[in-house]
């Protein structure tokens, strides 16, 4: 028997053992997936750094443009135990304030801050007590949330008087210190430089 005959016999035997078609499908599917993964492969380091940079830019943008509203709770979702409405004497309570009041859990007091008395009080009466609060909205009126979760609503006229007389310019999120007389009337409002709920 020659080498050629041996080789022919081998090739004939080999024809009986072809690779299964299922293997071809499996292998080529794997190759397709592999190619897809390679096509969309990203450098994890670049991706991480890119994400950090994008987050940092977003944070800077927000801080520069919207420094305080991020910390401002929704006015409709406030958890308050007491609502106080402060307004000038004979000043009608605006509808917006009335609606706000209606949405709140309870209102216990409404304070008339008499214009003249209020003006005098600033000059002559020492504050009976002080409370710290955070200004949470200035859409229609000032809403001040105290550390003990009391909501104080100031009417626009009273706000105008307070800001004009005392030169305070506050924005939502500002920490303020409220001074009250012995009857609970606001006699002064000023910026608080420390955290609103730290002891004064």
């Amino acid at each position: 028997m020659t080498e050629d005959q041996l080789q022919q016999a081998y090739q004939r035997a080999k024809q009986q053992h072809k690779a299964p078609a299922a293997s071809r499908r499996l292998v080529l599917a794997k190759a397709q997936r592999h190619a897809g993964q390679k096509g969309h492969k990203v450098n994890p380091w670049n991706w991480t750094m890119g994400s950090i940079a994008a987050s940092a830019l977003l944070a800077m943008y927000v801080l520069l443009n919207f420094p305080l509203p991020l910390h401002q709770p929704s006015a409709d979702n406030l958890m308050t135990t007491l609502v106080e409405v402060h307004h000038l004497n004979n000043e009608p309570i605006p509808d917006s304030v009335s609606q706000s009041i209606a949405r709140q859990a309870s209102i216990t007091r409404q304070y008339d801050n008499l214009t003249r008395e209020f003006a005098n009080a600033q000059q002559t009466i020492a504050a009976h007590h002080m409370r710290r609060a955070t200004l949470i909205s200035d859409n229609h009126e000032w809403r001040l949330m105290t550390c003990d979760q009391h909501l104080i609503i100031l009417t626009p006229a009273l706000v105008a008087r307070l800001t004009t007389d005392q030169g305070v310019a506050l924005k939502p999120g500002s920490k303020v210190q409220l001074s009250f007389d012995k009857d609970g009337h606001i006699v002064a409002i000023s910026s608080a430089h420390h955290h609103a709920c730290q002891a004064s």
């Binding site: 035997a13 690779a19 299964p20 190759a31």
Partner: protein
Amino acid sequence: MLTMALKQWFSKPSADQLMADYALHGHPDTLAQLYDSLADDVYHYIASQTDSQHAQDVAQRAWIKVIDKRQLYRQQGNVKAWIFRIARNLMLDDFRANKKFVDELVSEPSIEPDYASQLADQLQFEDLMTALPASQREAFILQQEGFSLAEIATITEQPVETIKSRLRYARNRLKTALENTHD
């Protein structure tokens, strides 16, 4: 020059060229061509050493390894030898895990009585190959697949002289058995 270029343009790319291209670009169509040109050879080589189900599994894993490790392929290498070696190593790993056959395959074969010639009357060529000691059968199949002595020695991690010896025994047994069959 032009003739060579035209010939190259129209000729079917070799397995080595396909693998070099796949290693570089990873295009699935290139792998499909490579698979079609070598898959039967790889499968038959493994199937001659183990059962068909295990051979299918080993061959699949070998090809998946080719996909995963394509960048490790050396462009000047013989891709068929590379894939055969991958498949062989996977098969031996399985054998070692199952403590099966491996001694026979990796060590010098014992010289047995002329078993093949005893069975020649009733066995076909395939059965005669199966009757060979595994190491001789492997060397014979690799030679039939076109590998040189040096390449067979590399694939099987054996000295060339050992391969020569195995081939001599394998061929003689097969020839004798086939001659007896035809008589």
